[in-house]
């Protein structure tokens, strides 16, 4: 038995070593950085241990802005993208003709290059010297005044960011939900139909509970993904997100490390740990709710 388990550990060693060097040690280091006050990366010295870094980050208006942006993004995009994905998946599941074609079309964004997507959004929304962008042309044709979505008011920029995020995360969610729907035993539907349940009742009382585990999975990963948003904002608004007022928490962490006026690993670490605490809390709440509602 002992020999057996030793052998097992040896097999695990490469992966464990890898994890230890690239995951566990850095995590631990982040914790250490975040409590070292006045850390100087040149001399590798600090004044002492304390919570000043956290206090600084929490009072930094840029961080507050990033926090606000991230929360708005999460609260809008997660329910919206999951809901739309569910609608599309149910639609896909109920058609027979051209099902594969539509499935492929809905999945295309997932395999499309991010830069290409960014370009498309630019054509749609960006105002240039030559054009106001496709969306603005549409707005004008309906008699509205054009809006600068990239450098304009805050709500316009947030709208573009949310739109972009929803669009990017949709394909994966549709894929997961279509397969979840397809895996429901058709006998349940037959039984319900024979028993006279309406389409809506079948959907709410049978379909939804049956795919609830997948829905919760999507909501939890959606929350985590949206809290970690950064590249989307960069793709739309460029690297100077603080100036655009569209920074996210991860963006703030990055700026603190490498951005102009960066080089503050202590502040970055503190911000990263605050994000970690937020994600952890939300995930725990999510898990508790899902346990309660899908308990067997």
């Amino acid at each position: 038995m002992e020999k057996q388990s030793l052998k097992g550990w040896i097999y695990l060693l490469p992966a464990l070593a890898f994890l230890a060097v690239f995951m566990i040690y850095p995590l631990f280091d982040v914790l250490v950085y975040s409590v070292e006050e006045g850390y100087n990366s040149a001399s590798q010295t600090s004044f002492g241990i304390g919570l000043y870094n956290y206090a600084y980050v929490l009072h930094d208006p840029y961080f507050i802005q990033a926090l606000k942006n991230t929360f708005i993004l999460v609260i809008i995009t997660v329910p919206l993208s999951t809901g739309i994905a569910l609608l599309i998946a149910v639609g896909l599941n109920s058609i027979t003709k051209l099902k594969e074609l539509f499935q492929t079309i809905f999945f295309l964004p997932y395999v499309t290059n991010t830069l290409a997507v960014g370009l498309v959004f630019m054509i749609l929304f960006k105002k240039t010297a030559y054009s106001d962008g496709l969306v603005n042309l549409l707005i004008q044709s309906f008699g509205g005044t054009s809006v600068d979505f990239i450098d304009g008011p805050y709500w316009a920029k947030m709208f573009v960011l949310c739109f972009y995020t929803v669009w990017v995360v949709l394909p994966f969610k549709i894929l997961i939900l279509t397969s979840a729907l397809a895996s429901v035993n058709p006998d349940y539907y037959k039984a319900a139909k024979v028993d006279g349940a309406t389409k809506w009742r079948i959907f709410t009382r049978i379909t939804l509970p049956m795919i609830a585990p997948m829905l919760f999975y999507l909501i939890i990963t959606g929350f985590i993904g949206a809290f970690k948003a950064y590249s989307d904002a960069v793709a739309l608004f460029g690297t100077d997100l603080n100036a655009a007022g569209m920074n996210t928490i991860v963006g703030y962490v990055y700026d603190m490390l490498y951005g102009t006026g960066g080089g503050y690993p202590s502040y970055a670490s503190a911000a990263a740990l605050i994000l970690f605490a937020i994600v952890l809390t939300i995930t725990c709440i999510n898990l508790l709710i899902s346990r309660k509602s899908t308990a067997v």
Binding site: D187, A191, G196, R201, R205
Partner: protein
């Protein structure tokens, strides 16, 4: 409520340019009120399709279905007043047993709408009928297969259906439970008096439970009769072979001068003209007799306790082995074994059409 099927036909259009599939072909039958009918046949014989047509989950290509005097051919399933039990039970896993049984009642609309108490009352009544009251708060996953099956039956019965349909309800149970549940279904059917259609591929199940058996093959009804008559007087070779375990022994035979020959063995005098025939002999149709006319070479003897199964071979047999069941008191030894035949257990079929031939034994 009697159920009338009138020239019922279901044709599935071809897929991939293959031929159209006729799942049910011109099925006409009147199921008497309050009886339990077994639809029996091998996989793909159209028995489940027939059930789906009665339930309304599928619509017939032609033909009509009546419940009593109501033409229900074009009614959707929810308006037919049927209860359906699936092979997979199809119990909703996220609901408790009570919620499962109450589900059909919650769908009532308008003046039929029930209060929570009435629903619970009716659900309890159904649960009592199938004897699952102690488990009402459990989820289906916490119950055995047999208990789940009872819940499924309770759910089908709770709204007092006019017709109860059971689609292979016992196939997912182990042998012992299958026997028990079979009895249970019979008891519930008798108590409620609901006309019931029971689909199975297990001939023993169909025989033990049904008032009448419908044997189907490739969409065509072969025979409709009470179980004993289907067994004793099969209309053709297919029905004879499909019913009975061990299966009927099939020989190539011939009638010459009113004498029936199996191979070269002259086994009995019959009142038929000279012709080639197929001889079917039930395993219990053999009588061990030193001077018997049918001579087989002995392969082995299987002791089954109550009976002894004698496995032998005969040159005219269509199967490699001939199986005969005799009482366990007999001792069988040696290389050959000789039998006399019980005329009642010996069935003759035309060699070309495989239809059963009417004959009497001449002394």
């Amino acid at each position: 409520m009697k159920v009338v099927l009138q020239n019922l036909t279901k044709i599935y259009p071809s897929r991939d340019k293959g031929p159209d599939v006729t799942a049910v072909n011109d099925f006409t039958f009147e199921i008497p009120d309050g009886k339990l009918i077994g639809l029996l046949g091998p996989s793909g014989c159209g028995k489940s399709t027939t059930l789906n047509l009665i339930s309304g989950l599928e619509t017939p290509t032609s033909g009509k279905i009546f419940f009593g005097d109501d033409d229900v051919t074009n009614l959707p399933p929810e308006n037919r007043g049927i209860g359906l039990v699936f092979q997979s039970y199809a119990l909703y896993p996220h609901m408790t047993v009570l919620q499962n049984i109450m589900f059909p009642l919650e769908n009532f609309k308008g003046k039929d709408r029930l209060s929570k108490e009435e629903m619970k009352e009716k659900a309890m009544e159904a649960a009592r009928l199938v004897q699952i009251e102690p488990y009402l708060e459990r989820k289906p996953a916490q119950m055995s297969g047999g208990q789940q099956q009872r819940v499924a039956i309770a759910r089908a019965l709770v709204k007092r259906p006019r017709v109860l349909l059971l689609d292979e309800p016992l196939s997912n149970l182990d042998a012992r439970l299958r026997l028990q549940t079979r009895e249970e279904i019979r008891r519930i059917q008798r108590e409620t008096g609901i006309t019931t259609v029971f689909v199975t591929h297990d001939q023993e199940e169909a025989m033990s439970i049904s008032d009448q058996i419908v044997v189907m093959k490739a969409g065509v009804v072969q025979q409709i009769d009470n179980p004993q008559d289907v067994y004793d007087h099969p209309v053709n070779l297919f029905v004879a072979s499909f019913l009975g375990t061990p299966p009927i022994n099939v020989f190539d035979g011939e009638v010459r001068d009113h004498m029936l020959y199996i191979g070269e063995d002259a086994v009995m005098k019959v009142d038929l003209e000279d012709r080639k025939v197929i001889v079917g002999i039930r395993p219990e149709g053999f009588i061990l007799d030193e001077n018997g006319p049918l001579c087989c070479s002995l392969t082995g003897v299987q002791v089954m306790g109550r009976d002894t199964s004698v496995v032998s071979s005969h040159p005219a047999s269509r199967n490699p082995t001939v199986c005969s069941i005799i009482s366990a008191e007999n001792k069988v030894t040696g290389d050959t074994v000789r039998f006399r035949l019980k005329p009642f257990k010996t069935i003759l079929f035309a060699d070309d059409t495989e239809q059963a031939l009417d004959y009497s034994v001449l002394e």
